[in-house]
Symmetry: C2
């Protein structure tokens, strides 16, 4: 620290000491709280004084504003330790608007999706777009971009990028916490030089892990390499093994993957500090409907975790894991992120202060975000793009497993018309295409998918993990081409077309991943999209999420059969396979 900075710090200290001594009035005094004290592990009465954006302490203070909590419970602002903001389809501003009233004070993001589209520039977009918001967006450097060699991503994150953006000289250094989930655990174990170079580039920083079902020596080796957390535990014994070996266990309770009920039995008072609650992926409509971390805390308590522990898992535990020492608790010197909840069952949030400011007093009007440049750069698309000349034998078909991102690898007889293999709604078998959209390579992966429920027309999306190429499912090639071109024009999103007509389109002009507008409008557009889909779908009683389902059909690290712009991927053998299977 320079002399000048030290002088400034000393005078800041001096001012705060005077305030804490009560010599000058505080900004805010919240009287009559039942404080959920995650440091002493108890709930006790307190009057909490706030000034200068921080908690001064407990006691009787003069203050410019006095709020009577009326015996309600005061919690520290909530932290989400692992989230991909892009998966909410919201811009950082709109995400902050949505979660701040639910008590979220900070999120630790892995901007993995936008990094796959735009590389470091995507991460920089997220940093710029989240700068100065009432909710703090910390960033972990995405570690596995591209995710595999069997797909074409928009860009790569290199060891040099990681070194540069985790350097103390980087402009957003205070928000750069470390290396995001190291999903490529096979690469770590195989000592892939690029993967190890990325880990080395983040040496001394926090590193998140991602190692579903890894066990024994392989788990030892993975942890030894660096990753210090895991949010992929789905079974108690898995969590126990990772916990014993020193991983911070992030219990994921997102909109799709929900592990809380299974993992709750592992949490004891003695080890609770080793657990966090995280959302990973969160649907925007769920946020609006249920909230964010407050909802996860509510569920944890419903599962039998004590309220103080549940709150700690969404505050101090996460802050400490990420080495954030002024967040996650209500005590002198901590950032004044305060959440007043009515009770410790519903966790209904009645008032929120972030950095000492009442969220209700903030200017949180919806504002259009500046979109990124149009990232849709596919080669020319027409109906011929989707032609599949028939060959002898049967075809590999991706089998949708309802509500899951894993698929089945089927081998079925193709439906052939005029020498072409075609979709067959009678067997709920649509054609699926993944069109490389970043570099106009002309790469197109073609295949079939069973169980998506499409009766006519086509649907398309530019959210398709992890490279986010243009994914299209359809019953006829003309509609598939039209759907793909429609999204190319608007800069990405989701659409439904039928018979040459656009039935609905959700524009996601931020890298083809996120909306530039408001949650309310997005919600409406998504509802229209759903309705349009139902108009082209086979009748069903099940709740279906065809666009979410489709977005995982190109995720080549999740079994069993997936499709990328390079073709069909057999995930078990981690290799590209031909669409046609010759007769034995």
């Amino acid at each position: 620290m320079s002399h000048a900075a030290a002088d400034a710090e000393a005078s800041r200290l001096s001012r705060r000491i005077a305030m804490a001594l009560g010599e000058t009035p505080a900004d805010l005094l919240i009287t009559g709280c039942r404080l959920v004290n995650v440091l002493s592990g108890e709930i006790h009465d307190a009057d909490v004084a706030v000034a200068d954006g921080v908690v001064l302490g407990f006691g009787d203070y003069q203050a410019r504003q006095v709020v009577d909590a009326g015996g309600r419970y005061l919690c520290p602002g909530f932290l989400d330790g692992h989230i991909h903001i892009e998966s909410t389809l919201l811009s950082p501003l709109e995400f902050a608007r949505a979660v701040a009233p639910h008590g979220t004070a900070a999120v630790v993001c892995d901007p993995h999706e936008i990094a796959n589209v735009m590389g470091p520039a995507g991460i920089e977009y997220m940093l710029a777009a989240s700068s100065g918001l009432p909710v703090t967006f910390y960033v972990m450097m995405s570690s596995c971009v591209p995710a595999t060699h069997m797909e074409t991503s928009g860009a790569a994150i290199t060891p040099a990028d990681i070194r540069r953006m985790l350097s103390p000289d980087y402009p957003h250094a205070w928000r750069m916490l470390g290396l995001a989930e190291v999903m490529n655990y096979p690469g770590v174990l195989a000592r892939d030089p690029d993967m190890l170079a990325k880990i080395a580039a983040a040496r001394g920083r926090v590193m998140d892990g991602h190692a579903p079902l890894l066990t024994g020596r392989r788990l030892n080796a993975y942890i030894l390499a660096g990753p210090g957390s895991d949010h992929e535990c789905t079974r108690p014994d898995e969590a126990r093994e990772k916990l014993r070996r020193g991983m911070h266990v992030m219990i994921r309770e997102g909109s799709t993957e929900q592990n809380l009920a299974d993992l709750t039995p592992m949490v004891t008072p003695e080890n609770a500090w080793r657990f966090s609650l995280v959302s990973d992926d969160r649907d925007p409509v769920d946020i609006k409907k249920y909230g964010h971390m407050n909802e996860l805390v509510r569920r944890a308590v419903a599962q039998g975790i004590s309220p103080v522990t549940a709150v700690a898992m969404a505050s101090i535990n996460t802050a400490r894991y990420f080495r954030l020492y002024d967040r996650g608790a209500v005590a002198p010197g901590y950032r004044a992120d305060l959440v007043l909840v009515d009770d410790l069952e519903s966790f209904a949030v009645s008032r929120v202060w972030l950095g000492g400011r009442d969220v209700r007093d903030m200017d949180l009007a919806c504002r259009e975000m500046p979109a990124t440049p149009n990232t849709m750069r596919p080669a020319k698309i027409d109906r011929d793009t989707f032609r599949i000349p028939a060959r002898p034998g049967r075809v590999r078909v991706i089998g949708v497993v309802p509500g899951q991102i894993v698929t089945r690898s089927l081998v079925l007889d193709p439906t052939v018309e005029n020498g072409l293999a075609v979709a067959d709604p009678a067997r709920d078998m649509a054609k699926l295409a993944v069109i490389e959209r970043h570099h106009a390579t002309g790469n197109v992966g073609l295949g079939f998918i069973q169980g998506l429920g499409l009766a006519s027309g086509a649907i398309a999306g530019t959210v398709s993990h992890d490279s986010h190429n243009l994914i299209v499912a359809g019953v006829n090639d003309a509609d598939m081409a039209f759907a793909a071109r429609t999204l190319t024009t608007v800069g990405g999103g989701f659409c439904v077309v039928n018979g040459g007509r656009i039935l609905a389109v959700v524009e996601l002009p931020v890298a083809g991943l996120m909306s530039a507008g408001c949650l309310d409008e997005l919600e409406k557009a998504l509802a229209e999209l759903g309705a349009a889909y139902r108009s082209v779908a086979l009748p069903t009683d099940a709740e279906v999420h065809p666009f979410m389902s489709m977005s995982f059909m190109s995720l080549a690290v999740i079994p069993a059969l997936k499709l990328t712009d390079k073709g069909l991927v057999d995930v078990e053998s981690f290799s590209l396979v031909d669409l046609f299977v010759p007769e034995a």
Copy 2:
């Protein structure tokens, strides 16, 4: 991190991954352990593999050496979160030799005593002397040197010293953890510019507190200023208040101050991670007799704390508080500091590995340490140095409180002979002198002390908190002068003289504070010193520690009446007072 360093790190990772996968044999496998797992908060069976100085993990491994633990308990190496090594009178090497076999892996030192004698050079001596030892000596920068303005220390620690020695470029940077106990809490609360400049110089680093009985708004203000821990709690309600306000509570259980029994009721499973066990000051003979942190853990368990929690309080909790992420637990990637104990009651240590090496295989022979330059630089001392011409009225007398470092402030009639106020063994009243020994200023503080138990001769010491001037108590001036000159010649220590004869001397040539030799010799010398003292003392049945007692008689921050080289200090009014009190 530079490219070269990143490459080296990547190849280190690669080697370790291969070992953890079992592709190359481990160095050591400890089979049949009951592992005290402070991360999962439980005790479970494990085989623990070690290589490259770190824990590889649990499981079945080939290893060059296999040790059967036979069901004994394996704990992480112990950490002492707050200790003044100087108070053990041992050199760092000798301290390490003494504690390593008891399972101490690291200590966090505040080199406050030697800093008061030698300034930054003293801290640098400690760093150099502890470099490369099997026990890691972390250092917190002493924050309050000199301790008060009412005494003459050998040197000062300035904000610039703190900034320099906590800089990432400092040669010992990896061992420099932050700012040591901020004892001058009145200075903090009064916004003393020098004190705030020191805190500002350590911004962003760990800061230890020292705030006995501070409460309410003043405690809020002190915490807000920076200190994040306290090891001065003596009462449960005090610990509770500090805990609630976010202080890490270090429960001190040293040779003199023992707070464990009083504070144990505050430790719950929910908040235990906020507690550490620390020794603060530890007598060398106690170390030899009882051990170090193993003994504190044993006592904690005897007080009813669960074994896993007690071990955590001497390992992971301390490591995390000090932001040491590879210490304090047994798990993949942690430093292989391992302590095998026979049971969880006695905590009798049967085997210790530090950094993967068996302590029994280390070269821990006693070696003479290089002493510092002789720090004894008083002005000329003779019997006249100690003359106290009588004046009308009574005298202030320091009243010893047995077993305590507080004193009573007495006002008694002086004993006058030939116009001089003199010692009076019949009233157990010795003369006490504090001679400035650093700069030959000629400052001498003179007074009387009751309750030290001296019948004849004189005793002297150069350990006298916090400035460590030469303190002498005696019955006659000639012996006092002789005792003082004796210590000046040998470079400091303790001595007993009588009738112009040296009865015993303990040489402490390292800054007048520490022995350069071995614990065994020191123990013998201290025993001889004790015997010599008893030969000049009044008969008593009580266990007396006259040199320790005397060493606190100049500590001007502990009530009630103390003596420095500048004179008598009334601690309540924090001011110098005259020896003579005029008759009312």
